[in-house]
């Protein structure tokens, strides 16, 4: 029962925050210099006078700000985020087509960075002054400092010309489209480079985090007790210390999801991966504001969902939270 209550509270909180994002979007449209109608229509495509006039009425731009907010909200709630003149499609369907690609990329990168990062961190914590540990620290610093779009271009260069064994752009092989399982394999092949690029930055952060927390865990009293019980190191580390080390990692993973998403925009641009990030890049070029703001909203939804998932995983690992001892 307690869990259900918690989830309901989380959802209420999420809806509240997403509502705030919508209000933010609305304010941004009106705060931006220039005429909101232009913003909604987008300067580039379909900026003819009668379209602007139609938009004025549709969004009730002549009415009071509060009424406009109400009309904007009623539209958005029914899924009408406006119309993209450049792509000639309602914004919502445009985004829904692109979400899966971004999710593949972000989730692959997340899994890769958490798993590899934790492994590197945990192993190097065993012998903190050892050579391996120094190596991990150097990789972590380098991985963190390298701009993700630069590493992407490097890999593009490496696998594009020097060592062409991996596809370097797009999500599917346009020349020889495959179906069924081969199609999935094709996507995975295309996914390797972008997800690795995106994961590099976060592998660096998680390995540092795992290393520091594992070092602390190894000095904790309960690890000393475990050793005093004659348990082999594999259990002392694998069972007792590791699970405690995972808690901060899961917390950070939840918080980092927004950053992961931001990185995806850059990686998708480099590898022309047909996700929401690429859509943002195109919509900026064409000043397609409705799409831009809608992507911001949908990404907030995804980040919110990720937070709820990580919170549940957190409650799974740590019984103290589960029993309400917040």
């Amino acid at each position: 029962m307690n869990l259900l209550l918690h989830i309901v509270r989380q959802l209420a909180n999420a809806i509240g925050l997403l509502f705030a994002v919508l209000v933010l979007n609305f304010c941004l449209i009106h705060a931006a210099p220039g005429d909101p109608a232009m913003v909604i229509a987008g300067e580039m495509g379909g900026a003819s006078a009668d379209v602007i006039a139609a938009l004025r009425i549709k969004y009730g731009l002549d009415k009071s700000l509060f009424e406009q907010l109400f009309t904007y909200m009623s539209k958005v709630v029914t899924g009408d985020f406006g119309f993209s003149y450049y792509f000639n499609e309602p914004v919502v369907s445009l985004i829904l087509q692109r979400i899966p690609a971004t999710l593949y990329l972000v989730i692959a990168a997340l899994v890769m960075s958490v798993v590899i990062g934790t492994l590197l961190g945990v192993v190097s914590a065993r012998k903190p002054n050892g050579l391996f540990s120094q190596g991990v620290t150097v990789i972590a610093l380098a991985g963190y400092a390298a701009p993700v779009f630069w590493t992407g271009l490097m890999l593009l260069l490496l696998f594009g010309s020097v060592w062409p064994i991996l596809p370097v752009s797009g999500m599917i092989d346009v020349v020889r489209p495959k179906t069924g399982f081969a199609h999935v394999l094709d996507i995975i092949q295309h996914l390797i480079l972008p997800s690795t690029t995106l994961a590099l930055v976060f592998i660096a952060q998680y390995s540092r985090l795992a290393r520091v927390n594992m070092i602390d865990a190894l000095t904790a009293d309960y690890v000393r007790t475990a050793r005093a019980k004659g348990l082999p190191e594999t259990i002392v580390i694998g069972k007792h210390a590791l699970r405690n080390t995972l808690i901060p990692i899961v917390t950070v993973a939840g918080l980092q999801f927004g950053h992961l998403f931001a990185g995806a925009v850059l990686v998708e641009t480099v590898f022309s991966w047909p996700g929401m990030g690429r859509l943002v890049f195109d919509s900026i070029l064409r000043r397609d504001y409705p799409t831009l703001l809608a992507v911001l909203f949908f990404s907030a939804v995804l980040v919110m969902a990720a937070n709820i998932v990580t919170d549940l995983v957190y409650r799974l690992i740590d019984p103290r939270i589960r029993s309400g001892a917040r």
Partner: protein, 300 residues
């Protein structure tokens, strides 16, 4: 002032250290100078800053004018080669560095200013203030920072100032969270209660008692914030959202993005510049981290 019925209280001065220790800040400074990563990072950053500040005097070429044929590989006339328009890459690096480093520095200051203010208030006072500020922080956290900044810059114009403010405004939650955690931890320690009992008001407690003790982790996150801001500015410029008429490293990469196969140097050198700058700053952050909690350093 010896008391009457008990012998004068034995002055256990013998067991007191004779020389007073130097202040914790000086100790931290000395530790920092001993940490190899800290010193290396500081040295590299100094070189970078010097080249961007004094570079133009020694290397007079203007980054915007066309020096040679496009995609001339690095050679005698253009040490680092030319880009897709034929502009000199080295000149671009020198002038670009100025924009990137200033944006990075100023944006980090904005981030820390907002973050520490919100974090300290919510951490120190708790209760309703804390819940409200945490909600605001949470709100900023669910918006992907780069995306949010892109929207702000697109709507409010692509100038250096809007870019800097946008970066600062979207990345303060990390600093806020860290400061709040530190204040929550320190607020319950007895020496804060003792100062309150000695007549300290909230202002004195926040600024003179809790903040100095919370500074070390804040300084580390401030250093990291500069690195993050530089990467951020690079990302925005790469996506064509930087200030179009000021040369910056990200812009150089963005403009030559499609020609990476024709001229690798057009992309590798500006990217390397960002990499070195952020690496130097992270090393400094690492050095400071070692200086403030030696316990970690002892274990490497």
């Amino acid at each position: 002032m010896t008391s009457i019925d008990t012998p004068a209280l034995p002055r256990d001065a013998s067991t007191l250290p004779s020389r007073p220790a130097i202040s914790p800040t000086l100790v931290a400074l000395r530790q920092f100078c001993r940490s190899p990563s800290g010193v290396a990072g500081a040295a590299v950053l100094l070189i970078l800053v010097l080249t961007t500040v004094f570079g133009p005097h020694f290397y007079g070429i203007d980054p915007l004018d066309l020096v040679d044929a496009p995609f001339t590989p690095p050679g005698e006339d253009a040490w680092l080669g030319t880009d897709y328009l034929g502009r000199d890459i080295l000149a671009g690096l020198i002038h670009g560095g100025r924009a990137t480093l200033t944006v990075g520095g100023v944006a980090a200051i904005i981030t820390i200013a907002i973050g520490v203010t919100i974090g300290s208030l919510s951490g120190f006072f708790g209760g309703v203030i804390d819940t409200a500020l945490v909600k605001i922080t949470e709100f900023f956290q669910i918006l992907p920072p780069l995306l949010f900044a892109m929207v702000l810059v697109t709507l409010f114009g692509q100038t250096l100032t809007t870019v800097t403010i946008a970066i600062g405004v979207v990345s303060w939650p990390t600093a806020a969270r860290l400061t709040r955690a530190e204040f929550l931890r320190l607020r319950n320690l007895d020496f804060v209660k003792a100062s309150r009992a000695a007549g300290a008001g909230n202002g004195h407690l926040i600024l003179r008692v809790v903040l100095p003790n919370a500074l070390p982790p804040i300084i580390v996150s401030a250093t990291m914030a500069i690195g993050v801001a530089i990467l951020f500015e690079g990302g925005l410029s790469f996506l064509g959202l930087g200030d179009p008429n000021t040369m910056s490293w990200g812009l150089m990469i963005g403009q030559n993005r499609n020609y990476v196969l024709d001229g690798w140097w057009t992309v590798i050198f500006p990217g390397a510049a960002i990499f070195v700058a952020v690496l130097a700053i992270s090393l400094i952050g690492d050095g400071i981290n070692d200086a403030i909690n030696p316990r970690l350093r002892k274990r490497g």
